[in-house]
């Protein structure tokens, strides 16, 4: 592996790890706040799937970095400006409809992304994708089900779900953004060219939103910046809470 490819792959694994840990943490904020016990447990499991994914990406990133850092250093010892996650995933959990709409956008995204990553020439990235595909199939069953129930539910649940769709839509464009790093990896057959995935994503999301009697918003605004470390004000607060224990007791074991 040339130095340029290695550096790009390290950045890529970190980005994918950041996406997983940030979304995983946001989902974990529902634990003990779920609408009822069964859902609480189920959504907590989804969170664990994402945390598990983050661990795999970070472990690989640490291996590539080869500078003495481990997965925990990647998760807990970097500040918000060093995080490279998509902005969609750092938005606060909001109400239940908001979280499920975000989840649907994420699950459809991974449904189209992971089969491509599975084809990666990089064996580690391919292996992580293989494991994640199965999880995502189940995640989508859940989020699709909830969006249908809420969108096509009561007047109140429909209103809230539509509001969430409108509020989050502008953050979905970033999911399909490419930069020089990702383009290099896509050309090498290591990374995924996400710019080619939006049509499939949009078609799937449109089908589900329509079935849920919801309206697909116009593409009237978009916010980006997560991939270069420009975040919304929400990420800093989230990381403070997520990192406090590790930073207060470095290396602590229990």
């Amino acid at each position: 592996m040339s130095d340029a490819i290695k550096a790009a792959t390290l950045e890529y694994a970190t980005r994918l790890g950041d996406d997983s840990v940030v979304l995983g943490h946001r989902i974990s904020e529902w634990i003990s706040y779920g609408p009822f016990l069964e859902e609480d447990i189920a959504y907590g499991n989804v969170s664990l799937d994402y945390i598990g994914r983050a661990r795999m990406f970070y472990t690989y990133a640490a291996e590539l970095a080869d500078d003495g850092r481990d997965e925990d250093d990647f998760a807990y010892m970097r500040n918000d400006r060093e995080y490279r996650n998509l902005l969609l995933f750092e938005m606060p959990k909001g109400d239940f409809a908001y979280s499920q709409v975000r989840q649907l956008f994420a699950d459809v995204y991974y449904t189209v992304l992971l089969p491509e990553l599975l084809q990666s020439k990089d064996e580690t990235l391919s292996a992580i994708a293989a494991k994640a595909i199965k999880e995502t199939k189940y995640h989508l069953r859940r989020s699709r089900d909830w969006v249908l129930r809420l969108g096509d539910g009561t007047e109140e649940s429909h209103k809230r779900t539509q509001k969430a769709v409108d509020a989050l839509w502008g953050y979905t464009h970033e999911l399909f953004d490419m930069d020089a790093t990702e383009q290099l990896l896509a050309d090498e057959g290591i990374g995924v060219d996400v710019s080619k995935l939006r049509d499939a994503w949009l078609q799937r999301v449109t089908e589900i939103l329509t079935e849920a009697t919801l309206t697909v918003p116009e593409d009237s605004w978009e916010v980006k910046g997560g991939r270069i470390g420009y975040h919304t004000e929400n990420l800093g607060h989230m990381l403070t809470e997520m990192q406090i224990v590790h930073r207060s007791h470095p290396g602590c074991k229990w």
């Binding site: 609408p35 009822f36 069964e38 859902e39 447990i41 189920a42 189940y138 089900d145």
Partner: protein, 96 residues
């Protein structure tokens, strides 16, 4: 009414291995069968993956009553010939 009072109660049966029977593992609340199946997967199979899950509405189970115990089970106790162990087996058959 709390959320769970509005939801239906389901009984969950899991078959942990091929060839074994489905075993009753517990119950849960859900909106309908489909959702009950998903929650059953999350509540009862995450640690030792089962191969098959059944869910059935608790209200659909017809159960025997304790009061019926006398007429249901006692009559069998004085009829030992109903049990295989009553019969003397020929020696070549070691176990039954």
């Amino acid at each position: 009414m709390s959320v769970t009072e509005k939801l239906e109660l389901f009984e969950v049966f899991v078959r942990s291995k091929r060839g074994l029977d489905h075993k009753h593992v517990g119950s849960l609340h859900a909106e309908d069968h489909e959702q009950a199946l998903e929650y059953a997967r999350d509540c009862y199979t995450r640690r030792s993956e089962g191969v098959s899950i059944w869910v059935v509405k608790s209200a659909d189970i017809c159960a025997s009553q304790e009061d019926d115990a006398d007429c249901f089970y006692d009559p069998n106790d004085d009829k030992p010939y109903r049990h295989a162990t009553y019969y003397v087996l020929p020696d070549p058959v070691n176990n039954m």
